[in-house]
């Protein structure tokens, strides 16, 4: 299946080479977990403070076990804030 991986700020360095504008469509196995996707791209999980699956917050403590579906968008940020 295919998902869209979006990595921002300092995590952008972990995106695959073909990524454009902080995102890349990647092919993954069915029922892959968030943690498996991030590990496959060498994203340091302890730096993943904000994880959104299809725009919806997923607590880091449980996100790693969360499974993804075909067409999902996984977006991840290190510690950030603004206003």
């Amino acid at each position: 299946m295919k998902i869209t991986l979006k990595l921002y700020a300092s995590l952008a360095n972990c995106l695959p080479a073909e990524a454009v504008k902080n995102q890349a469509e990647i092919t993954v196995k069915s029922d892959i977990t968030v943690r498996e996707v991030l590990d496959a791209h060498n994203v340091p999980f302890d730096r993943c403070h904000l994880i959104l699956i299809n725009g919806v917050f997923s607590p880091p403590a449980t996100a790693k076990q969360a499974t993804l579906k075909d067409g999902d968008a996984l977006a991840v940020w290190p510690p950030v804030a603004g206003g």
Partner: protein, 615 residues
């Protein structure tokens, strides 16, 4: 201690500058800056006064911690009746001006009356005088800053000034200090212009004393350590600034786009922090040069940018080729997503002009977006706009309108009215995305429900800085709440509003609260000041201030009926993203909010509440 205990009262009609003692009874109840300045305003003017008349007063107020070594302790506020809103205005700024005012020995300046001719106030320590600004009238903020420093041969002066926008009555004109920091919202610059006051220039060579030096150093050191060790304030904000939110809020489906027609902007990444750091295709250099800190700040979230010299906006304009204040999130949203413009360099140019001529980029971008909405609906035509095609997405049009609005020429004069007045003038008031006349910032209440209640109840009109529930609803600080749920938001908004009022009144930046709670702030205030400052007494002071501001607005003629959102947010559901199909749940949250506030069903504080708070 911490307070200098001195106020400078400047009567512009009479041309006098008089020192008077600070009312310490009020200081111990309202702390400083926002709280204390509002108390003075409340006592000294009729809330029904015309904001642009000589009877309105304007107060520059520091907090007790302003000018100390506490982290971020450089803030001051301008408090007045807002030109844009007719409501209480308190516009907060960083930079170095506030601390310099304190070093000169003043807690506050109260301006009253109106000068017959343009003047500026020059303060050098305890000497204050009004000087002619006839040679400065018509100059930009930046040129005024340079001219005053040259006149006094004093490069260490810090200057707060209005540009041409404030002189000519742009209703959302700012007061800009230190070139790039602004008391930006509610039209405080228009009030300053109406008084024929061009600038306030300050040089202070003193310091700020604190009550318990040992305890103060210990508590401020602990505070700085907490900021440095916190991942957001120690790493995220200095590296990426507030602009990193662009993709976060867009992904969350709460980025208002094209005057709130949409909640996601397809080109958000092009105007984001990531884009600012990316080398440009045109010249191989990034838009972002470095970060910058305000006085005593250990976070340093400010952006310094440089536009590509070959970009159409600055071709043959070498005065804009240098390093200047760059885009913050709210400005980038208003100039970009709100107008549908994705050209980062054009946004940066428009932001420069906002600083140079002194007007609020949030209100400008939102007003322009409303005008574009009316143009696309055929309400406005080229005949109205001076031949300009005012369509969403045009970078050329954005920069042209920024220039015209800065000098209030052509259609820029219409844009200077603000969204509410402009939309009313052309018979489409429902297209104005405002509360109490002030334009929304960068969060859509359909995707972040708490922000709808925040906007509706903000005492200075729609504003994110009065209750930044985004922190909880999106970022999970201090704890995560569901942005799509209205449950518990009344209490959440009240807590944010009261705590923020206390932080503002201390003279600190609210960005500290990504790492600090009042448990961290209270020891710093308590060590610096007389009085008993605990998290509870600070929270109570914040609640007192909030209710006082509400009373000002009620006396000015506002009522619970003004705690409302535009129909678009209540009727037109979000089209995409997590909030797809949702509208704002304000009607559910507002009665709960009045209840937790201790107000009656019409939004009026009860006698019991006011008595409990000593308002």
């Amino acid at each position: 201690m911490a307070w200098t205990r001195k106020i400078l009262r400047v009567n512009l009609t009479e041309g006098t500058c008089v020192s008077e003692p600070l009312n310490m009874d009020w200081a111990l109840k309202y702390l400083g800056q926002r709280g204390l300045g509002t108390k003075y305003l409340m006592e000294e003017i009729d809330p029904k006064v015309d904001p642009l008349s000589p009877d309105n007063k304007m107060i520059f107020a520091t907090g007790p911690l302003t000018g100390t070594c506490a982290s971020t302790a450089g803030r001051y506020s301008v408090i007045t009746k807002g030109a844009l809103t007719g409501a209480i205005a308190c516009s907060n700024s960083g930079g170095y001006f506030g601390a310099e005012l304190k070093f000169a020995g003043w807690d506050m300046i109260i301006f009253e009356g109106k000068s017959e001719k343009p003047v500026y106030l020059c303060i050098i320590d305890d000497k204050a005088e009004l000087l002619s600004a006839e040679g400065l009238w018509g100059k930009s903020v930046w040129d005024t800053d340079a001219a005053i420093k040259a006149t006094h041969q004093e490069p260490m002066m810090h200057i707060a000034a209005i540009g041409v926008a404030g002189e000519k009555g742009n209703m959302y004109a700012c007061i800009v200090n230190d070139l790039h920091r602004a008391a930006g919202r509610s039209g405080v610059g228009a009030v300053m212009g109406s008084k024929n006051l061009k600038a306030v220039a300050v040089r202070g060579t003193g310091g700020v004393s604190v009550e318990d030096f040992g305890a103060f150093m210990k508590s401020t050191e602990a505070g700085k350590k907490a900021l440095a060790e916190n991942a957001v304030t120690g790493e995220g904000l200095p590296a990426y600034g507030t602009q990193v939110l662009m993709n976060v809020i867009n992904e969350s489906g709460a980025l208002p786009t094209r005057n709130f027609r949409d909640v996601q902007f397809e080109s958000a990444n092009d105007i984001s922090a990531e884009a600012m750091a990316e080398p440009r295709r045109s010249d191989g250099k990034p838009n972002l040069l470095t970060n910058q800190a305000c006085f005593s700040c250990t976070i340093a979230c400010g952006r310094i940018s440089q536009i590509d010299k070959d970009h159409f906006s600055v071709v043959n304009k070498p005065e804009y080729w240098g390093a200047e204040g760059g885009l913050e999130y709210e400005a980038a949203w208003a100039l970009g997503a709100a107008t549908g413009v994705k050209d980062l360099e054009a946004l940066t140019y428009a932001n420069y002009i906002c600083n140079e001529q002194g007007y609020d980029p949030i209100s400008f971008g939102s007003t322009l977006a409303a005008a574009m909405d009316m143009y696309e609906e055929g309400v406005l035509t080229k005949k109205d706009t001076g031949g300009v095609e005012l369509k969403f997405g045009s970078a050329e049009m954005l920069t042209k309108m920024a220039d015209l609005t800065g000098t209030m020429e052509g259609f820029g004069e219409q844009l200077g009215l603000g969204s509410k007045r402009l939309c009313e003038k052309y018979g489409r008031p429902e297209l104005s995305m405002t509360v109490k006349g002030q334009e929304f910032p960068a969060y859509d209440p359909r995707g972040i429900q708490g922000m709808g209640l925040t906007y509706a109840t903000s005492n200075r009109g729609a504003c994110h800085l009065r209750s930044y529930t985004v922190s909880s609803e999106i970022l999970g600080i201090p704890e995560k709440t569901d942005p799509l749920s209205t449950d518990g938001k009344a209490g959440l908004v009240k807590a944010f509003q009261d705590a923020t009022a206390a932080v503002d009144s201390a003279g600190l930046c609210i960005f500290t609260t990504f790492a600090w709670t009042l448990e961290d702030i209270a020891p710093q205030v308590d060590a610096a000041c007389e009085g008993n400052w605990t998290p509870d007494t600070l929270m109570e002071a914040g609640e007192r201030i909030w209710n006082m501001e509400r009373n000002f607005n009620l006396a000015a003629g506002f009522s619970g009926k003004d705690d409302e959102l535009p129909k678009r947010l209540m009727k037109d559901a979000a089209k995409t993203g997590p909030a797809k199909g949702m509208v704002s749940g304000l009607d559910k949250m507002l009665p709960e909010y009045y209840e937790v506030r201790g107000w009656n069903t019409k939004g009026v504080p009860t006698e019991e509440t006011l008595s409990r708070l000593g308002v």
